[in-house]
């Protein structure tokens, strides 16, 4: 009986401990959590949309990341942000803790709330397809 409890615990704990993931792992993970398939098209419109429900200086993802995920963006501080698309920046979407940290921060800044697992799955799917 005890083994049955350890197996799901390991499944949850392993990616977080290793802090290493891949775009396809992330899509799988967030889709499973959302209970539906990821949709890159929906991710694109979510990313480009002007939400305006978060903090006034950051109405959209594109405020800092630009409309092209393959090009570098710029933080409001002037600091360059490396491209989000894994095809332009191999380090992107490979560290679960980082992905979670920035979704947590930026969804709050742009939307004024946390992103749902479905929204995360869509955005990751779109970024990975670029």
């Amino acid at each position: 009986m005890k083994y049955l409890l350890i197996v799901p615990a390991l499944l949850i704990a392993t990616p977080a401990l290793a802090q290493s993931t891949s775009p396809s792992d992330l899509i799988q993970r967030y889709s499973a959590e959302a209970g539906r398939a990821a949709d890159a098209g929906r991710g694109k419109s979510f990313f480009l949309a002007n939400h305006g429900s978060g903090k006034p200086d950051t109405p959209s993802c594109t405020t800092c990341h630009t409309k092209n995920p393959r090009s570098a963006g710029k933080a409001r501080t002037g600091k360059t942000i490396d491209p989000l698309a894994p095809s332009a920046n191999g380090a992107r979407l490979t560290d679960l803790a980082k992905v979670e940290k920035w979704f947590r921060r930026n969804c709050d800044s742009v939307l004024g709330r946390s992103c749902t697992a479905g929204e995360k799955a869509d955005v990751v799917a779109w970024l990975a397809s670029q």
Binding site: K55, D57, T77, R105, D108
Partner: protein, 395 residues
């Protein structure tokens, strides 16, 4: 036949030779004798260049010109030291004993007596020594300011920000006095040129002056070039050794040297890694618990990491450093500042810069210190480390 001019070695025997040639000379027009040797002339005009450089950059140029200001000032001081050596080893009119302003000689000169001095007259001699003193004091106080405010150079170990700042007032007063002295010097040259019916400035170019029978008789001295070169080399060596030794001394009040890697990583993701000494402990204590609304963005980190970074920032806050930024920007404000760009000191320091510069691609935001301050992450913010992005990139 009257010689057009005496040979270069006239100084050696010139006195006697001139005596012998008195009759000839009185007939001859424009007979000249060497007065200012080449080293005195080079010294004079190079000193003018150095003082002019330091004066213009000191009074009119912004902080980015400091390197040239220091070069001018230290160059002038170096020239003066070499000239002091030459004052004991040079030819007749280069020597201090030729123009040391004894009070009796000054009084006699003021009464219009004592004969024409081919070298410096007693008043001019007094001005030479006053120039030397002023220039050496300017160099010393300049190094004190550099050491106190920017923790740089041979006097950094000995001066706090406050004592260095006090020297700034002295430095400015002496600089103003030097300007007045330069005015008096030029006026004296013009006046004396009229009085003695000769072009004194021309003499400092050609090195030669008209010989006149009733000239004040100088004490002939032979130049000792080797001794001078050896003495100048020795003084230079001592200064280089002293500079190396003193610069290596531990400097009190230095901001913490190594930035915490976690702090640099986490906070540097979005902005310049602000040195902990740029804000007082109270500001860090106010900023860190509110990272979820950090200048208009969510920058939250999780409670453990936040506490760890706050402890690091408080431990090395402005109170622990004696830099200019820590003294002028972070301290002495009624309420602890949150945004550095809102402090009166920051605004004053950046008021001459175009708004377009901050909006340019190369800078992007006033919070991007490191765009121009190459030493931003050391907390020193030395004027010597400012490099403003080229204008082409600013539209």
């Amino acid at each position: 036949m009257v010689p057009e001019r005496f040979a270069e070695d006239a100084d050696r025997t010139g006195h006697i030779m001139l005596q012998k040639n008195t009759e000839q000379t009185r007939e001859g027009q424009g007979l000249t004798v060497p007065v200012w040797d080449i080293w005195v002339r080079l010294f004079h005009w190079l000193l003018l260049a150095c003082v002019a450089t330091a004066t213009v950059t000191g009074f009119f140029a912004d902080a980015t010109w400091l390197r040239l200001h220091i070069a001018g000032g230290l160059g002038a001081a170096g020239l003066v030291l070499a000239r002091i050596v030459w004052g004991f080893t040079g030819p007749t009119h280069a020597r201090f004993k030729d123009f040391f302003p004894r009070p009796s000689a000054v009084m006699e000169h003021l009464r219009g007596g004592g004969g024409r001095h081919r070298g410096h007259n007693p008043l001019g001699g007094a001005m030479v020594f006053a120039f030397f003193l002023a220039i050496l004091f300017l160099a010393a106080t300049g190094l004190a300011i550099l050491g106190g405010a920017f923790k740089t150079g041979p006097l950094a170990f000995a001066f706090t920000f406050q004592s260095g700042h006090a020297m700034e007032e002295v430095h400015e007063l002496i600089a103003l006095a030097l300007l007045v002295m330069i005015g008096l010097h030029v006026a004296g040259v013009v006046l004396e040129s009229f009085r003695s019916r000769e072009n004194l400035a021309r003499g400092m170019v050609t090195g030669e002056k008209e010989w006149r029978a009733d000239d004040h008789q100088p004490r002939i001295a032979r130049p000792r070039g080797l001794a001078a070169a050896a003495a100048i080399a020795a003084v230079g060596a001592v200064l280089i050794l002293a500079n190396t030794g003193l610069s290596a001394r531990p400097v009190p009040g230095m901001p913490v040297a190594n930035l915490d890697p976690t702090y640099a990583q986490e906070c540097g993701d979005c902005h310049t890694v602000y040195h902990p000494s740029l804000l007082p402990a109270a500001s860090w204590r106010a900023l860190m618990p509110r990272l979820a609304d950090h200048f208009g963005e969510n920058a939250s980190l999780g409670p453990e990491l936040t506490a760890e970074l706050e402890a690091y920032l408080v431990a090395h806050a402005a109170e622990t450093a004696d830099t200019k930024a820590a003294n002028r920007m972070a301290r002495g404000l009624d309420a602890p500042p949150l945004a550095m760009t809102e402090t009166p000191f920051w605004k004053h320091q950046h008021e001459d810069l175009a708004k377009a510069l901050f909006a340019s691609d190369a800078v992007g935001s006033a919070s991007n210190c490191a765009a121009c301050h190459l030493d931003a992450e050391t907390g020193l913010f030395s004027p010597l480390s400012i490099s403003i992005p080229k204008q082409e990139t600013i539209r």
